[in-house]
């Protein structure tokens, strides 16, 4: 929701980045204030996923220009774990399976690590168990998930729910959801979206990275951005997503080129 005078959480200016020598981001600008939900849409290869991984600190991407400020600090100076502790969360498009590590053990370790760095109390196994079970209700997850290995043998929908569960536990200021709707059937989509909606509040912000409009029926964005060739080329309200759904992406690119010619 857009709040009057809410403070800026994330400010990206002129961000450029390479992966293995190929330029993927070419001057991306984005401002996210607390309380807001943003959707970044765009065709495959436009740089959406790259952008979300760069925000989380993936080492495969080399930032070649621009700045990323998060709550007044230079995010690019921080290691991935420092970003997580500072309140940046990335829900992965393809969450990793870790056979041999129990989900409950994993969730408790990450929760306590982040809590400690935020100067808060750790939870012992019993307290944690109560806490995590409460959060699992939000996502209609069976407690069986705690006994299994992290994501091992989980269906696509179960993995995504486990991602949002981690978001619920780590309580980020900025959550980036990378293609969270991919691979979800309609029921799982409804559950995941309802979980995200309950987690959204006036102090945090959510960036949804998605190819399709479908997710935005359930999580209604305040802003919709269209990415093409490593830049945000159009920003609008939630109705822009519907227009993209019916007209595709090509017209946005054409309009953008025409505008560029007009100014040139």
């Amino acid at each position: 929701m857009i709040y009057q005078d809410s403070k800026i959480l994330l400010e990206v200016r002129g961000l450029c980045a390479n992966v293995s020598g190929t330029e993927i981001l070419k001057g991306l600008d984005l401002t996210v204030r607390s309380g807001e939900i943003h959707a970044i849409m765009g065709p495959n290869g436009s740089g959406k996923s790259t952008f979300s991984k760069i925000l989380a600190g993936h080492s495969a991407y080399e930032v070649t220009g621009g700045t990323v400020m998060f709550e007044g600090q230079n995010l690019l100076d921080l290691a991935p774990e420092e970003r997580a502790r500072a309140g940046v969360f990335l829900a992965f498009q393809y969450p990793i399976e870790i056979p041999g590590v129990g989900n409950s053990q994993f969730l408790r370790l990450t929760y306590n690590t982040v809590q400690t760095h935020r100067g808060k109390e750790e939870l012992d196994p019993l307290e944690f168990d109560d806490y995590v079970r409460e959060k699992m209700k939000l996502l209609e997850m069976s407690p069986d998930f705690l006994e299994r290995s992290v994501n091992e043998g989980f269906s696509g929908g179960e993995k995504k729910r486990n991602e949002i569960l981690q978001m619920a536990m780590l309580d980020p200021r900025l959550a980036i959801l990378d293609e969270t709707d991919s691979g979800l059937d309609i029921d799982a989509l409804r559950i995941v979206a309802s979980g995200v909606n309950q987690l959204a509040n006036k102090d945090n912000a959510i960036v949804l990275v998605t190819h399709y409009q479908r997710l935005l029926n359930y999580i209604v964005p305040d802003y919709v951005h269209v990415m093409e060739a490593g830049r945000i080329i159009k920003t609008g309200g939630k109705e822009l997503a519907l227009e993209l759904e019916s007209r595709g992406y090509d017209w946005v690119g054409a309009e953008n080129k025409a505008a560029a010619r007009a100014t040139a």
């Binding site: 989380a56 600190g57 993936h58 080492s59 495969a60 290691a79 991935p80 774990e81 970003r83 997580a84 502790r85 969360f89 990335l90 992965f92 969450p95 990793i96 870790i98 056979p99 041999g100 590590v101 994993f106 370790l109 990450t110 690590t113 982040v114 760095h117 290995s149 981690q166 780590l170």
Partner: protein, 435 residues
């Protein structure tokens, strides 16, 4: 004769030197078996890297050492060995330097079930033992199995009669206490038709000097039997450990084996499993080594008959300048149609000097079969490390967790919780790098 031949001959003679002092068995066939084994030792030589089966494993260090059979047995107290106990396994046979220790053991002789030292089982089970003892493990071309058989005296005997389940796991604890000693642990497990049993074969040490364990285990599953075989090799750091295990899995039986190799300077485990019709086996292993250790696992799963299923996952975590070897042969004989076999060898190298040789080997002589195998060697996956970092863990903590998980996946397959916890703790301690 070549120089190495002379050395070998002398070496084997030294090893055999204590053999004439063995008391004769009341069973003529057992005395004949030992004599046959002594003869084979006379003919065979110690393998070198020129032998295909020993190509990756240099045991010349073993032959440079001089080991003698145990002369005096050390008397241990419960307090000395309690830390090796497995909570759930109240049935326990203890062997100290290969010698049965009755005062430390609590076997079973009840309703046809026997968990006893070999000679205590002769009266009731000699006829059942004879076809298997020294017969499942082919020693005619295996000098270590032949040596063990030449010294065959004390041995763990487990007999489970038909349709009987042994409720608690059986712990076979082999403890090394003396340096320069060679011991010959021996196990025989006979699982009757429709029976079920869980056995832990466990090798530990109370001292850190060099010694040599040369073990042989034979396991026979009659129709519809189910055996869980857990093997824990946690020998001393300077030990040499060579073991041969042969398993025959009769019709519709199920053999589940998890073996871990943590200890010994040089270790070699040969496991041969033969599957009859509709038999199933899962053969999983983990070698976790560092420093200058060498751990070699050679397995052969022999699909001798149709409709059998085999699953194998072998993992190695190699640190320091250690060297792991895995040779996994899957044999599908002519006529073994509808064989279903899956094998995977996964290896994690923690340092630039760590080394692994892995060799999956499929020999398929039937045409209607489903056989898959795969091998990976490498470092931790960067995407996995990043995932954990993105959840707030430091890179070191992330790497530690993934390394631990890599090993724990195998240990998780053991059906005994306290042992699982104990071994997972070992993996955690050995793989944890301090930041």
């Amino acid at each position: 004769m070549s120089a190495s031949g002379t050395m070998n001959a002398g070496y084997l003679e030294t090893l055999l030197a204590g053999q004439p002092h063995l008391p004769a068995s009341p069973l003529a066939w057992l005395n004949a078996l030992r004599a046959e084994a002594v003869d084979r030792v006379g003919v065979l030589t110690v393998p070198t890297q020129r032998d295909e089966e020993w190509r990756f494993t240099d045991i010349s260090q073993l032959t440079k050492m001089s080991f003698h059979p145990v002369r005096t047995t050390i008397s241990l107290q419960v307090a000395d060995i309690e830390r090796f106990y497995i909570e759930e396994a109240t049935t326990r046979l203890v062997f100290v330097d290969g010698v049965y220790a009755p005062q430390l053991s609590s076997g079973i002789t009840d309703n046809g079930v026997a968990v006893v030292n070999l000679e205590a089982g002769f009266a009731a089970h000699a006829a059942a033992i004879e076809p298997y003892l020294g017969r499942l493990t082919e020693f005619s071309d295996n000098v270590f199995a032949a040596l063990n058989t030449a010294f065959l005296h004390d041995a763990a005997l487990i007999v489970v009669p038909r349709d009987t389940s042994v409720a608690v796991p059986v712990h076979l604890l082999f403890i090394a206490t003396q340096k320069d000693v060679v011991s010959y642990p021996r196990c025989l497990l006979l699982a009757g038709s429709g029976s079920a049993v869980t056995v832990v074969e466990d090798y530990v040490s109370l001292q850190e000097d060099a010694y040599f364990t040369n073990a042989v285990t034979e396991i026979a599953l009659v129709d519809n039997a189910r055996v869980n075989h857990i093997r824990v090799q946690r020998e001393g750091a300077k030990a040499f450990h060579i073991a041969n295990c042969a398993v025959t899995v009769a019709r519709a039986s199920n053999y589940q084996s998890v073996s871990v190799a943590f200890g010994a300077r040089i270790s070699r485990y040969n496991l041969n499993v033969q599957l009859a019709e509709e038999a199933e086996c899962a053969v999983d292993g983990l070698a976790l080594i560092a420093g200058r250790q060498l751990a070699d696992t050679h397995t052969c799963i022999d699909h001798a008959m149709p409709n059998a299923v085999s699953r194998q996952m072998h993992k190695c975590i190699v640190g320091g300048s250690a060297h792991a070897v895995f040779n996994g042969k899957i044999k599908v004989r002519q006529g073994a149609q509808r064989t279903d076999s899956r094998q995977s060898s996964r290896n994690l190298l923690l340092t630039g000097k760590a080394h692994v040789d892995t060799k999956p080997q499929l020999e398929i002589f039937a045409d209607d079969v489903k056989c898959t195998h795969g091998a990976t060697i490498g470092q931790l996956d960067n995407e996995e490390v990043f995932y954990l970092q993105s959840r707030g863990l430091s890179e070191t903590a992330a790497r530690n967790m993934l390394t631990y998980a890599f090993g724990a996946e195998i240990i998780e397959r053991m059906p005994i919780s306290s042992l699982k916890l104990q071994l997972e703790q070992t993996v955690l301690e050995q793989t944890t790098v301090q930041p």
